[in-house]
Amino acid sequence: MAVTQRYATFYLNGICFGVPIEKVQEVLGYQHITPIPLSSLVLPGIINLRGQILTTIDLKTRLELSADETSGQQMMVVVRTSEGPINLLVDKIGGVLDVDLDLFERPTESLKPAVRAVTSHVCKLEKHLLLVLDTERVIQLSEEIVLAGKPNLAEQQEKVLSP
C-alpha cells in the first residue's frame, strides 16, 4: 500500500501548486488588504483576520510569475509557518489531493530559479504537474527579493490604473 500525503492545491497562472494540508490554517475569499506604503510588491500589505494581523505575500510576485494573467478576485490561503500564520495571495483554489509519495520527484532544472528555490517536490499527476511548495522557504524573503519586488506599491497601482 503506497503511502500518501494530502495536499491543498491552488493555482497561479494556471499552474497547480500544493501545500501539505496540515500547513494550511484556512482558505479565505478575497479580503481587503491594508496596503503598507513603501513596501515591496511581494508584500502588498496586511489583513485583519478576526483581530489578528496577518502579513500577505503575493505568491505570484514572490515566484516571479507574470501578473498579467490575474483575472477576477484572487483568493487567500493562510498557512501555518514557524513565524506564525502568513497569508498567501493566489489566483484560484484547487481541491485537496492525496498524492502517492512514490510520485515525488526532485524539482527539475527546467523550473524558473525563483520557483525552484521554494519548491520541495514535483509530482507528475495524470493530467498535470503538482509543485509542492516549501512554505518555510516561501516566507524567507531575503533583502534581494524584497528589493527585487520593488517598485513599491504606489507604482504598482499606477501600472494597474494605466493600461
Binding site: 491594508t34 503598507i36 508584500l43 489583513i47 485583519n48 483581530g51 504606489a154 499606477e158
Partner: protein, 822 residues
C-alpha cells in the same frame, strides 16, 4: 533574597547600622529556624553558620570587614541556590558547602568567646519553635514577614523568639508545592493539621503543646479521629475551645492582604481585556449611529466599566523598578572589587513603575550595560587620579516616565568611547564602507557598538572598550518595543538610554487619513492638531529651498506631508480648502505632519508588524480600529529622522554642497548691511517678526519694544558684534530699515529665559546644513565660519552675544520678558 543582597551591600557602607543588621539577622534567622523543622539539614547548617557570624556582628563582638561581607554574601548566594532547588523539586540539591561553612566559622575567630553561648541560645530557640510551629514553607518572603511579626512582639535583641512566631506561623496555609518527601509526607500532613488547629489552641493557652503532640502521635498510631476530637477525648480541652479556635482562624487570615497569581493568568487576562476594549470600541461606534436609547445607555456603562477594568488589570502588572535596582548594588560591589576599582552607584526613581514582563525583560540588558560601564567605562583609581577625577567613579542609574514611556538612563563618569576607534574598527570589520564612514555623525558612529559584528569579534580593549554583547542588549530592548541609544564623550563618560513602552497593552492614538490609508499616531507623541484655511496657509507654511517649514507658536518646525512621504495615491478630497496638520514630538524635537484628514482618537492594541516591513522603518506596528479597519501606527521618531534627512538631501541637491558632514543643524540665515551672511541655530529662535520703526521706545539707556504685553529689550545684532564695526543704531544698520519704516527682528531667548529682540538687517531664510568643520572665528560672538549655499557665513554664538546685552537697570523684575516663556 534580593533585599538581603541589598541590605548587605548597604551594611558594608554603614557597618554600624544596627537596624540593617537586625533586619538581615532576622531574615537569616527565620530561614534557619524554619528549615530546622522541615529537615533541610544543609540549609540549616549553612544559615546557622551565617547567623552566628551575624549574631557576633550584632553584639558588636567583631567588626564587619570586607572578608566577612564576602563570606556572608557567598552564603546568601548558596542559600538562594538551595531555595531554588527546593522550590523546583523539593530537595536541597546536591551541592555541599563545607568550605563555605568553614569559612564562616573562621570568620568568627577574632573573639571566639561569645560564640558557643550564642549557639546554645539559638539552638534552644530552634527547639522551641520546632515544638510549637509545625508547618512552614521555605519561602523567604513569608519567613521575612513572620520574622518581622515576631520582632514586633518581642523587640530588642532577643534570640529566643522561637516560641512567639509559632502562633503566626500556624496560620500560614501550607503551600500546595510544599516539599513532601517520601516517608516524611505522612508526618507532615499531621503537622499541617496540628499547625492549623493545634497551633491556634496552644497559642490561646487552651492546651499545652505536649498534649497536641500526644494527640498527633495517637493519630499516627492509627487513631482516625480528628485532632480536636482526640484532645477533647483526652479531656485536655472542651469542644467550645475548638470552635473558638476555628472561628478565630479566618479573622487572622484576612490580614494576608495579597495572593499569589500565576503570571500567565494575568497575561491571559490582559489579552482578554485588550480584546474587550476593542469590542467596546466597535460597539461604541455602532451605538453612535443608532438612536436606540437603551443600547446607548448600556454601551455607556460598558464603556466606563471596560476602562476601569483595563486600568486595574494593567495596575496588577505594574511593578516598581526598585525591584531591579535592589540587585544592582551587589553587582557593582562584586565587579568593582574584582577589577580593583572604586565605584559608587546612585539610583534614582526606584518607585517608577513598569509592566512586570517588561521589567523582567530589561533585567539582563541593564545588568549588562552596568557591567560594561564598570569594566570598560570607569577607569582604575590611578588613572582617574591622573586625569584629575576623583578616585571613586560614579555610575548613575535613573528611571523616570516621560511621554508615556519608561526611561532608564545609565551614566558613568568614566573614560568614554573613542568614536574614531569605533569607526576604524567598523571599517576594518566591513560593517560600514568608507563612504558611509565619511558621512556618519559622531552619534551614529557610537551607536555602531550595538552592531553584532563589532561586539563579539575581538577583545574589548581593541575597540576602545565597549560593545561586547551590546547587540544583544539592543535586540532585547527592541524586542519589547523599546529603543537603546548611547552617547559618550571621551574622558567624560558614557550614557546609555533605554526607552521602553510602559506596557504592551492598548494605547490611545489619533487616527488620521492620508490617501486611502488610515494611520495611527500614538497620543504620547502628539502635541497639537491644527487646521488652517488654505488661503491663509502661506502665512504659516513656507517653502525655503524646497524644505517646507511650519511656523508654530514662534518656532519653526520641519513640515512633512504624509502623502508625499509615503507616495500615497488617491486624490485629496475636493474642496478641502483646509490644511490639516498634526504636530508631533519626539526625541526633544517637533515636526509637523500634513495629513488629508484627522479622524478621532481611539484606544488601540498595538500588534507587531511583520519584521519584513522593518526595512521601511516608518511604522511601529498595526492596529485594528473600531470599525474593523487596519491602521498602521506611525513611528514618530523615524518620521522625524526622515524629515531631517529628506530636508538635507534636498538641500544637498540644491546647493550641491559636498564634503564630509558631521553635525546637522537647522540655521536661520541672516544678511548684513554689507551683504555679509550670518546664521544662528534655529533652536534659539523663538519668533521672527517685523516691527514698525516707531514701535521702538526708549527706556533709560535701552531701546525697548512692546511685544505681546511685555516690554522686551531691543538690540541691534551688529551692535553686539561691534568689535569689527561699530553701528550706532541711528546710523548705518538702521538706514535701510528706517527708509522702509520697518525692520526685521528675531525674538530670541537668553539663557536666563528672558526674551530679547535682536534687530537684524535682513532675514534670508532657513537652511539645514551638516556642519563639517568651522573655520575659526575672527571676532567675539561667533562660533566660526562655514559655507552655506556657496557663501561664507558666520555662525553666531548666541550665548556669548546675549551675555553682552547690557542689563536693564531700573526695570522691575516682573516686567522683564515675563509672560512669553510660558
Amino acid at each position: 533574597m534580593n533585599r538581603l543582597d541589598h541590605d548587605f551591600v548597604c551594611l558594608e557602607k554603614d557597618a554600624k547600622n544596627a537596624e540593617l543588621l537586625g533586619s538581615i539577622f532576622r531574615a537569616i534567622h527565620t530561614i534557619k529556624g524554619t528549615c530546622g523543622f522541615l529537615g533541610f539539614g544543609k540549609l540549616e547548617m549553612l544559615t546557622h553558620a551565617g547567623e552566628n557570624l551575624l549574631a557576633m556582628l550584632r553584639a558588636g563582638e567583631i567588626e564587619l570587614s570586607p572578608g566577612i561581607a564576602d563570606g556572608l554574601l557567598e552564603m546568601v548566594d548558596a542559600v538562594r541556590v538551595i531555595l531554588k532547588n527546593i522550590e523546583e523539586n523539593g530537595t536541597e540539591g546536591s551541592a555541599e558547602y563545607p568550605e563555605l561553612i568553614e569559612k564562616l566559622k573562621q570568620l568568627q575567630k577574632p573573639r571566639k568567646g561569645a560564640a558557643p553561648e550564642v549557639e546554645k541560645k539559638v539552638a534552644t530557640a530552634a527547639v522551641l519553635s520546632e515544638a510549637a510551629a509545625k508547618t512552614e514553607k521555605t519561602k523567604a518572603k513569608e519567613q521575612k514577614n513572620e520574622g518581622e511579626k515576631s520582632e514586633e512582639k518581642k523587640p530588642g535583641p532577643s534570640m529566643e523568639h522561637g516560641s512567639t512566631p509559632a502562633h503566626t506561623q500556624e496560620f500560614i496555609e501550607p503551600h500546595p508545592e510544599a516539599p513532601t518527601r517520601g516517608s516524611t509526607s505522612k508526618r507532615k500532613k499531621h503537622e499541617v493539621i496540628a499547625g492549623r488547629i493545634g497551633g491556634a489552641l496552644v497559642s490561646r493557652g487552651r492546651v499545652r503543646a505536649e498534649d497536641v503532640f500526644l494527640a498527633l502521635e495517637m493519630q499516627e498510631g492509627g487513631d482516625r479521629r480528628r485532632l480536636g476530637e482526640i484532645l477533647v477525648g483526652l479531656g485536655k480541652m472542651t469542644e467550645w475551645d475548638i470552635e473558638e479556635a476555628l472561628a478565630a482562624k479566618p479573622v487572622i487570615e484576612k490580614q494576608e492582604g495579597s495572593i499569589r497569581v500565576d503570571v500567565h493568568l494575568l497575561e491571559k487576562q490582559m489579552n482578554l481585556v485588550s480584546e474587550l476594549v476593542l469590542l467596546r470600541n466597535r460597539l461604541l461606534q455602532i451605538a453612535a449611529n443608532s438612536n436606540e436609547r437603551n443600547l446607548n445607555a448600556s454601551v455607556h456603562g460598558l464603556n466606563y466599566i471596560t476602562s476601569e477594568l483595563r486600568k486595574n488589570v494593567m495596575k496588577t502588572r505594574m511593578q516598581p523598578v526598585s525591584q531591579l535596582f535592589d540587585k544592582l548594588p551587589r553587582i557593582v560591589r562584586d565587579v568593582s572589587k574584582d577589577l580593583g576599582k572604586k565605584v559608587r552607584l546612585e539610583t534614582h526613581g526606584g518607585e517608577t513603575e513598569l509592566d512586570k514582563t517588561l521589567l523582567e525583560a530589561i533585567k539582563d540588558p541593564v545588568t549588562h550595560i552596568l557591567r560594561n560601564s564598570l569594566d570598560h567605562g570607569i577607569e582604575s583609581p590611578e588613572d582617574r587620579r591622573k586625569s584629575g577625577k576623583t578616585e571613586e567613579g560614579t555610575v548613575r542609574v535613573r528611571a523616570f516616565h516621560e511621554g508615556g514611556n519608561f526611561h532608564l538612563e545609565i551614566a558613568d563618569d568614566g573614560a568614554g568611547i573613542n568614536a574614531e576607534r569605533v569607526k576604524q574598527k567598523a571599517l576594518g570589520k566591513g560593517l560600514i564602507n568608507p563612504a558611509q564612514a565619511e558621512k556618519m555623525t559622531q552619534r551614529e558612529i557610537l551607536n555602531l557598538v550595538f552592531q553584532p559584528g563589532l561586539s563579539t569579534a575581538e577583545k574589548v580593549t581593541n575597540v576602545s572598550g565597549r560593545g561586547v554583547g551590546m547587540d544583544v542588549v539592543k535586540t532585547n530592548i527592541e524586542r519589547i518595543g523599546g529603543t537603546a541609544k548611547i552617547e559618550s564623550t571621551v574622558s567624560k563618560g558614557t550614557i546609555v538610554w533605554l526607552e521602553i513602552p510602559l506596557t504592551l497593552a492598548t494605547i490611545p492614538a489619533l487616527t488620521v487619513v492620508s490617501g486611502e490609508s488610515v494611520f495611527a499616531i500614538p497620543q504620547a507623541a502628539l502635541v497639537e492638531m491644527i487646521a488652517i484655511d488654505e488661503a491663509e496657509s502661506s502665512k504659516y507654511i513656507e517653502c525655503i529651498d524646497k524644505v517646507s517649514v511650519f511656523r508654530f507658536r514662534g518656532t519653526v518646525l520641519p513640515l512633512m506631508s504624509l502623502r508625499e512621504e509615503l507616495k500615497l495615491n488617491g486624490v485629496p478630497t475636493e474642496g478641502a480648502a483646509i490644511v490639516k496638520l498634526v504636530v508631533v514630538r519626539t526625541e526633544g524635537r517637533q515636526i509637523a505632519l500634513r495629513v488629508d484628514d484627522i479622524r478621532n482618537t481611539e484606544e488601540i492594541v498595538i500588534k507587531p508588524l511583520d519584521k519584513r516591513f522593518k526595512s521601511i522603518a516608518l511604522y511601529s506596528g498595526a492596529a485594528v480600529l473600531g470599525d474593523g479597519r487596519v491602521a498602521l501606527i506611525l513611528d514618530v521618531p523615524a518620521l522625524a529622522r526622515r524629515a531631517g534627512v529628506v530636508a538635507n538631501q534636498k538641500l544637498q541637491n540644491e546647493a550641491a554642497v559636498e564634503g564630509r558632514r558631521k553635525e546637522k543643524l537647522t540655521l536661520l540665515l541672516l544678511g548684513g548691511a554689507d551683504g555679509e551672511r550670518m546664521a544662528m541655530p534655529l533652536d534659539c529662535v523663538q519668533r521672527l517678526e517685523e516691527f514698525e520703526a516707531d514701535a521702538v521706545e526708549r527706556m533709560g539707556e535701552q531701546d525697548v519694544v512692546q511685544y505681546r504685553g511685555d516690554i522686551l529689550r531691543l538690540v541691534h545684532l551688529l551692535e553686539l558684534l561691534k568689535e569689527r564695526r561699530a553701528v550706532p543704531r541711528t546710523e548705518k544698520g538702521r538706514q535701510g530699515a528706517e527708509a522702509r519704516g520697518k525692520f526685521s527682528a528675531v525674538v530670541v531667548r537668553s539663557s536666563n529665559a528672558e526674551h530679547i529682540i535682536l534687530e537684524v538687517h535682513q532675514i534670508l531664510g532657513i537652511v539645514k546644513v551638516e556642519i563639517d568643520r568651522l573655520t575659526p572665528p575672527t571676532r567675539e560672538g561667533v562660533r566660526g565660519s562655514l559655507v552655506v549655499q556657496d557663501k561664507v557665513t558666520e555662525l553666531l554664538n548666541l550665548e556669548t552675544l546675549l551675555a553682552k546685552v547690557p542689563k536693564l537697570m531700573n526695570m522691575p523684575e516682573a516686567l522683564v520678558g515675563a509672560g512669553l516663556g510660558s
